[in-house]
Symmetry: C2
Subunit: 268 residues, 2 copies
C-alpha cells in the first residue's frame, strides 16, 4: 500500500485533552492535515480498568485507519500507558505516543537526573513514564504522583485559582522534596496549568509539556520516513467525537487555542 | 404477572455514588433484597448529552427488569433529571427516583420557601429539581448551582480538606446570599460532604440528603402497594458494575459504609 503524503495525521484521545496536542501540531506542522478523535462519550479513561481501555483503544484505532491516516498519534497518556502495544499491533502506519515523546525530552533536559512525573491515577500506576524514561537513561531516578483533581479543575476553568494552587501544592509536595530539576506534565490537560505549576514548582524546575514534545517528535518522524505533506495549501482539520457534552465548545476551544469547527459526532 | 414479594429492589446509578442510596435503603428496609447496578465503565454521566444518557438508562433498565425486580430506583440524579420518562415507559414495575424524593422533602421542610439546590452540571441545567419542587409547592423560589468539582473531591477522599472547603465556599456563595433555609444535596456523592457543607452553609440551613429522602419514599411506596418482603431472613445484596475501576473497592466502601462483597462485572 502506497501512503499518500497528503493523508491526514490521526490524533486520538479519550476526550478533549488531546486538543492541546493538536494545537502544538498545528503550530509545528502548519501544512499537515489532521483528524482528531475524542471519545467524549466514554471519557475519562484515567479511572477505568486496563481491559476496558485496551478495548476502546482498539475501536478508535480501527476507525482512524479507515480514514486513511498516514501516522497515528496516541495523545491520551492513559491509552499510551496501558494500550500502546495493542494499537501498534493493529496499525500498518507508524504509531507515536505522548509518553515516549515526553520521556525522551525529560531524559534530554534533566541535569541532576532526578525527574518528577505527574498524571492521572491510571497513567501513574502503570509506571509507563518510568519505563519510557529508563529506555533513554537508566540512571534517572523518577518520582511520580497521581493528581486526579487536575483534570476536573482544568475543565472547570480554574486555571489560576486559589483552590487549584492549594491542590497543586499538596500534590507536588512529595515530589518536590526530592530536589528534582525536571517535571513531566504527563496528562494532556496539564499544559493549561503550566503557569500555575511553574510557580508552585519554582523557577529552578523545567516543566516538560508533552504536547510540545509530541509535536517535535512528529516532525522528526515525518522527516525520517519522508512523510511530509508537500502541498502548501490550507490544511483540513476534522474533529470526531462520540458525544457533544455540556460545555464542549468552550472547553475544547480553551484547549485548542482557537475556534473549534468541523466537529462530527459518531454514535457507537 | 404476579410480583413475588421477595423479589429484589433494583437500584441503579451511573457509578458508585448510588451506593449512598443503597446504604440508606439497607438501614431503613433491613429485610429487602437489593440489586445494585453501577455503570462504572461509562461514569460520569453528568457531563454527557441527554441522548446518550437516555440510551444508557434504557439499557440498564432492561437489564434490571430481567433480574425480576419488584421496584426500580433511579439513584443517579442525572438519569432521573433527563431520562426518567424513558425508564418509566419501559417499566411494568413502579419507578422511584432521587429527584422526586429530595424535592418532596425539601418542599416539606422549608419555612421561608427559599430553597437552594446543588448538583452536577447536567442535573442543574435540566432544571429537574425546580420542576419537581414546584409540583409540591409552586410558591417556592429555587436557587441552584452546579458544583462539578464535588464528585472528584469526594472520590479523592478529601471530605474535610481545605481545598474542598474553599471550593464549597465559592460554589455556595451565590446560593447562600438569597437567605435560603433549605439546601438540597442533588447528587448521590454529596452526602459524604454533609458535615463540611453544613459548616459552610451555617447552622440555620437544613440540608436535604436525597439518599435518606429516597429510603423514606421507598418505604412509603412499599406500604402503599403492599410490596414489603414478608421474609425475615438475612437479605441478599448483589452489586453489578460494568467495570472495576481503580480504587473501586475503597471508594465503594466509603459510600456504602460497610464491606462491599458479591460484586459481579458485566461486560457490554
Amino acid at each position: 500500500m502506497q501512503t499518500q503524503l497528503s493523508n491526514p495525521i490521526g490524533v486520538f484521545d479519550s476526550g478533549v485533552g488531546g486538543l492541546t496536542v493538536v494545537r502544538a501540531l498545528m503550530e509545528r506542522l502548519p501544512f499537515e492535515n489532521i483528524i482528531y478523535f475524542g471519545d467524549t462519550a466514554r471519557v475519562p479513561y484515567g479511572v477505568k480498568s486496563i481491559e476496558t481501555i485496551a478495548l476502546y483503544a482498539r475501536e478508535i484505532t480501527q476507525f482512524l485507519l479507515q480514514q486513511q491516516v498516514k501516522l497515528l498519534i496516541v495523545a491520551c497518556n492513559t491509552m499510551a500507558a496501558v494500550a500502546y502495544q495493542v494499537i501498534q499491533d493493529l496499525s500498518p502506519v507508524p504509531v507515536l505516543d505522548v509518553i515516549s515523546a515526553g520521556a525522551r525530552t525529560a531524559a534530554a533536559v534533566t541535569r541532576v537526573k532526578y525527574v518528577g512525573v505527574i498524571g492521572t491515577p491510571a497513567t501513574i500506576n502503570s509506571n509507563a513514564y518510568a519505563r519510557a524514561i529508563h529506555r533513554y537513561d537508566s540512571e534517572i531516578r523518577i518520582f511520580s504522583q497521581a493528581c486526579p483533581l487536575f483534570v476536573p479543575l482544568v475543565e472547570e476553568g480554574w486555571l489560576d485559582h486559589m483552590v487549584t494552587r492549594l491542590t497543586a501544592q499538596e500534590y507536588l509536595k512529595p515530589v518536590l522534596c526530592h530536589e528534582i530539576d525536571t517535571l513531566v506534565l504527563g496528562c494532556t490537560h496539564y499544559p493549561l496549568l503550566k503557569p500555575l505549576l511553574q510557580e508552585v514548582a519554582g523557577e529552578g524546575i523545567q516543566l516538560v509539556d508533552s504536547a510540545e514534545a509530541m509535536a517535535e517528535q512528529t516532525a522528526a518522524v515525518l522527516s525520517e520516513k519522508n512523510l511530509w505533506n508537500p502541498e502548501r495549501v490550507l490544511p483540513d482539520y476534522r474533529f470526531y467525537v462520540t458525544d457533544v457534552p455540556l460545555r464542549f465548545q468552550s472547553i475544547g476551544e480553551r484547549f485548542l487555542g482557537r475556534t473549534l469547527s468541523n466537529v462530527r459526532v459518531i454514535k457507537w
